[in-house]
């Protein structure tokens, strides 16, 4: 009860900035898209402008996880589910990284009223603290339809109403921006796992850190092959894999050993590049928590529901002979995971660590750890 009250008191403190309990905010904000379309709504985040790549997500829960996911760096996030903010924002320890990485947030109906026992602040307050602008009251389905057709489109949130320059965040090395500056070590144990952090979600680290595991978290371009380790995980991250040459080089080096490797999202693309395959842009990117991915286990097609956020896919025709497709997307047939035919090198395009989204493929971490244990014995 106490925390519920806190939630509502928090709201009252800010209430001067809003019309009383009506749901419409005073200050106007505009979203400009590269194709010339403009959407006007009300501000509920920081009163600043922002530019970035506009992307949408169709998840119905998980705004906290998405906003703090470093993969969203440089991106203006459009939520297709209209009501956002309902359960507020919990303590930092539940985030996917310390701060909001998304450049901006666009929703149809920001819920001023929030209510949850874990809530520490409102979404609005969190956005303001992180100096991230947000717009409510716009037709997010209309935006989604535009983005779906164009895929990558630059956008601009303007708090002055005026249109500025579109800046492509992908021109920068975004991975370098979000990757940690130096190596850190977590946990204790006989098994050492390297996590190449290209902007990793916390839940990947949480999923790996278990009894007997020592986790070495290294910057994206760190030559981890110098470390004594038992297995390596290449994390998710923002932007274009082609600017991560150093990481690709390190992975290629690691292929010299037999040690198990698991790639996730951006990590899968880096592994594909290291193996010699190429990637292409999907007609309709996957930005949701309901992507069905299939693999054949013992002659039976098993399909899992996965959480995804990517616009590029691996071209299966370019896979070297000793690699094979592991998972395919049941909707459009695109590659969702690859594996080496003999070595324990596997990677998935989706997020087995979930957060947000379904936990169906969390077993991949267990499988990876089993591989690591087995490889340690031999």
């Amino acid at each position: 009860m106490r925390s519920l009250y806190l939630g509502f008191n928090g709201l009252r403190e800010n209430s001067r900035k809003y019309l009383p309990r009506g749901g419409i905010f005073v200050s106007d904000m505009k979203l400009y898209l590269e194709d010339g379309s403009v959407f006007e709504g009300e501000s509920f985040g920081a009163n600043v402008s922002a530019t970035g790549e506009a992307v949408f997500t169709t998840g119905m829960v998980g705004y906290v996880e998405s906003l703090s996911d470093p993969s969203y760096t440089g991106q203006i996030l459009v939520c297709t589910y209209p009501l956002v903010g309902n359960y507020g924002v919990p303590d930092e320890k539940f985030f996917e990284s310390a701060k909001i990485h998304a450049a901006g947030l666009i929703v149809s109906e920001y819920s001023e009223n929030y209510s949850h026992h874990s809530a520490k602040q409102s979404l609005s307050a969190w956005l303001k603290k992180n100096k991230v602008p947000a717009i409510t009251g716009v037709d997010t389905r209309a935006i989604t339809k535009i983005l779906r057709e164009r895929g990558v489109m630059l956008g601009q949130i303007s708090h002055t109403g005026k249109k500025g320059k579109f800046i492509d965040p992908n021109k920068e090395n975004l991975v370098a921006k979000v990757s940690p500056a130096k190596k850190t070590v977590h946990g204790k144990g006989d098994t050492t796992i390297v996590l190449v952090d290209c902007g990793a979600k916390e839940n990947i680290a949480r999923s790996l850190l278990r009894e007997g595991v020592r986790l070495i978290r290294v910057p994206w371009n760190y030559d981890f092959t110098q470390e004594a380790y038992d297995g390596v995980v290449i994390s998710n991250g923002p932007g274009d894999p082609s600017v991560c040459g150093e990481a690709v080089e390190n992975i290629r080096k690691a292929f010299a050993s037999e040690k198990p490797m698991l790639g996730i999202c951006l990590g899968t693309q880096l592994m594909a590049l290291a193996a010699g395959a190429s990637t292409y842009k999907l007609k309709y990117g996957h930005r949701s928590q309901n992507q069905p991915c299939s693999t054949v286990i013992g002659g039976v097609t098993r399909t899992y529901i996965t959480s995804q956020n990517h616009g590029y896919a691996i071209d299966p025709n370019t896979l070297p002979k000793d690699w094979t497709v592991w998972f395919t997307n049941a909707n459009d047939g695109s590659v969702e995971g690859i594996r080496h035919k003999t070595k324990k090198w596997r990677s998935v395009q989706f997020h087995p660590e979930a957060a947000p989204g379904p936990t169906d493929t969390r077993f991949l971490f267990d499988d990876f750890m089993k591989d690591v244990a087995k490889s340690k014995k031999t």
């Binding site: 519920l4 009250y5 939630g7 509502f8 309990r21 009506g22 749901g23 419409i24 949408f56 169709t58 998840g59 119905m60 829960v61 998980g62 297709t80 589910y81 009501l83 309902n86 359960y87 539940f94 149809s108 109906e109 819920s111 009223n113 929030y114 209510s115 949850h116 026992h117 874990s118 009251g137 716009v138 037709d139 997010t140 389905r141 209309a142 989604t144 339809k145 779906r148 309709y284 996957h286 930005r287 949701s288 928590q289 309901n290 069905p292 299939s294 039976v300 097609t301 098993r302 399909t303 529901i305 049941a330 909707n331 459009d332 979930a354 957060a355 947000p356 989204g357 379904p358 936990t359």
Partner: protein, 1063 residues
Amino acid sequence: MSTPKKILLLGSGGLRIGQAGEFDYSGSQAIKAFKEEGIAVVLMNPNIATVQTDKGLADEVYFLPLTLEYATEVIKREKPDAISLSFGGQTALNLGLLLEEKGVLKKYGVAVLGTPVSVIRDTEDRDLFKNRLKEIDVKTAKSFAVTTVKDALEAAQVLGYPIMARSGFALGGEGSGLVRDKEALSHKLGEVFHTNKQVLIEEYLEGWKEVEYEVVRDKDNNCITVCNMENLDPMGVHTGESVVVAPSQTLTNEEYHMLREVAIKTIRHLGIIGECNIQYALHPKTGDYRVIEVNARLSRSSALASKATGYPLAFVAAKLALGYSLPSLPNSVTKVTSACFEPALDYLVIKMPRWDLNKFENSNKQIGTEMKSVGEIMAIGRSFEEVFQKGLRMLAIGADGFTAHANGNFKIEEYLKEIKTPTTTRIFAIAEALRKGVSIEKIHQLSGIDLWFLAKMQNLIALERKLKRGTLTKQMLLQAKRAGFSDKQLATITKSKEAAVRAKRTRLGIRPVIKQIDTLAGEFPAQTNYLYLTYHGSENDVEPSKKSIMVLGSGPYCIGSSVEFDWSSVEALKTLRAEGRQTIMVNYNPETVSTDYDMSDRLYFDELSLERVLDITEFEKSAGTIVSTGGQIPNNLALKLYENGVKILGTNPKDINRAEDRHVFSALLDRLAVDQPAWVELGSLKQATKAAKELGYPVLIRPSFVLSGAAMSVAFDEVSLVKFLKRATAVSADHPVVISKFIENAREIEIDGVAQNGDLVVYAITEHVENAGTHSGDATVVTPPQRTYLETIRRAKDITKKIIKELKITGPFNIQFLAKHNTIQVIECNVRASRSFPFVSKVTGHNFIEVATKALLGKNVKGNYQTLELDYVAVKSPQFSHGRIKGADPLLYVEMASTGEVACFGDSYHEALLKSMISAGFRLPKKNILVSLGGEENKVKLLPSLQLLSEMGFTLYGSEGTTDFMEENGIACAKVHKITTGQEPNILSLIEHGNIDLIINIPTRPLARENEDGFVIRRKAVDLNIPLITNRQLAEACIIALKETGGGTLPCKPWSAYTPSDA
């Protein structure tokens, strides 16, 4: 398993509380899914008003009781190699379990499709269920399954009161409830153990959130959750009684996916194949959970989930039962993506229950763990406020939204009390409390409703206040529309007119946008025809269709408006399609077939209000609108739509109005020299009492423009007249009320028909078994008529011709007559399809709606339709849900009380009557019959029948007066004392312990509620599930039929064996 060649599909029978029209939807989808594979389908379902029993769906249809006896006969005759139990609700599931238990399935080599029987038992038997979940460390509520009162009391002692008592194998939470102390528990269990062998005594999870997931699993262990739903009312209110939102609104990602993971784990462990539903309690502060139950079949929730997401659950479940895997099935909305996915919604839906408890005098308004609602609505939108207010209007109970009701109703005096102890009007009590300044924290404390929902409700009250104060600027108007305020509400708030508000907002360019439901939130392009309107948007997803015909649906199921009007709407759609017309359906009832994705070219899942239909019409510019198939809601809209320039097909709405307005219609009959009961229109109460005295009591009070006799009453004296008048004027304040002489001992006949340009095209005559005074919806109806003279039929037909000529009817109509001796009088005329259209269509073999729809399109429909000379007889019986409405008197009355109907065919009237009665839950007596007859007339007239019973060897028990009378007339009868005497045996003890098979209790006057014992007898009969007859004519007919047929298993023939093959 190899693909079966012939599947027996069990339906759910007559609609009743806890089991409504949703199973017509699921059954129809299953039949289509099976037929697509080239498999023959045999359907057993006595619900004649369903779409699934239409020609062209199943290969054979059996209108027979869903009992072990009849199902065994059908299996013997049809020799199916598989049976499907999951599409006919709890009725089909229980029957299936019984067939298996008795070895029938094994004996005849019938395999159960989908979820295996052992798994169904694991989910139905509370103890097995708990243990199965314990195996995988999934938490269930702490509980004990018990089979005796003693064990129950001990278990309750261990858990500590209050506790929840739940009965296994029950639908809609029947027999379940919160029990606060030992006395209440022993009382309750006495009843429950009469119908149930097992009861679960469970920890009470007060205030926990209630959440459910719809889960689909295939034989390869692929498992998905299609939708999750959150109840606005926390634990303690049955999910069928709760306001429900989808997707959940107050769950975090972590909670959402934790429960999803438990769902998948549980369903995999249980081994369900197809569709099921899992219900949880979730602690609002700790996030702890309990699994409450799993329903291993299609359910009301799955129908809702299917309509909420656009995912065809029943269709997919049927395919999975045949052995398909989820990834091998396509998403039927996008056509290109996989069915193995979880829909993403970019809108939210709200479901609200519709109650009709005020139809039952003495009934309790409180809601709880037992289901009492008779129907539901679903509203779609893009903000909570929008769907919430839409939903409240959709209930069609006179509410204009959450607040600002034009009729000034919904003021709740004891609002805090109703918030604490939930009633059917709790939502309006919250509105009242918020208006009075009660804090949402206080309301939360009292109700347990999450603050998030309450804050949204508070937004509405605050906005109303703001609207009252300020001028209606463009921004204010837009804000109000986005919060779901209707033009009518805004007119009430700003003291304006609905039309003026509409004119202003269209001038300001404030119009709703049309959005698609595509299952993927726009991520992939989809060719979906599933649409809704919202003010949260800047563009339409679709272009106007060309020259479509719009059909207005029936709205929520309620007493008097049920699946039969959905059937009529669906038949209209089918005919329009066959005639090559593009169709638009407007309806918002998630339990219907008319709202299925494949029934129309465009489905607007939205309000049936003047405002919304005009919004749609202005956008679509449809070529015509059909208002005559959806019952009273579209019928009442006809004139207003017409006045706003909407093209109504068929009878001119002005003429519809002439039939609906009691005063105008009565005057019209006078002018046509058509006889009718003496009538008078009411001005003041004083005039009314004077007029009633002149007409002579009893008198009938009838408001206009109402369905199913809402507020229709028979008054035997001035006291009851005054009481009823007050009720009538409250129901229909702006429409005239007429009182007429009530004719006692008259028979009632009805003509259902179709006319074109005022000429009769086709008609059918049905005859009521009960005398006038029983509402036509509660009457047992037979066709062809058995007791009506040919001359009477000829006269009725003549009068019909006169009326349809005068009203220039084109389309369906229904006229009700009173017949006494050789006189015939008209009581009412409906210029629309009536409740009995599916019955007469399926019995005569002529689809009346098909004819009517063609007539509406201006096609030549003249022909020779034979409807009287039939070689068989069909009887339709009412299906009551009195067991659910505690405290209500299960007496037939002028106001309708039945929730559904069933019908059966026979080679004789007797055969059809008994089968029909059994289908509605009657059981033929084996030995003991209790008779209690009020008044001399009943006794004298029933004497020959009682003699028959005695001759047939039944043991008769009688109340004091009845026994004396029988003994005087030489019939052996054991006397039982009045309850008040306290002597043994008395009526109460006999009913409770006497193994009574049948109770015949006829009150002195058909409508009076005179003596206490009578009420107790009837109520006990219902509570203990003992067959009860309260009408003399029905008792007579039933007894004669028993004698004539010998009381054994009656012939089991399919529909096709009766009706002409060309129909």
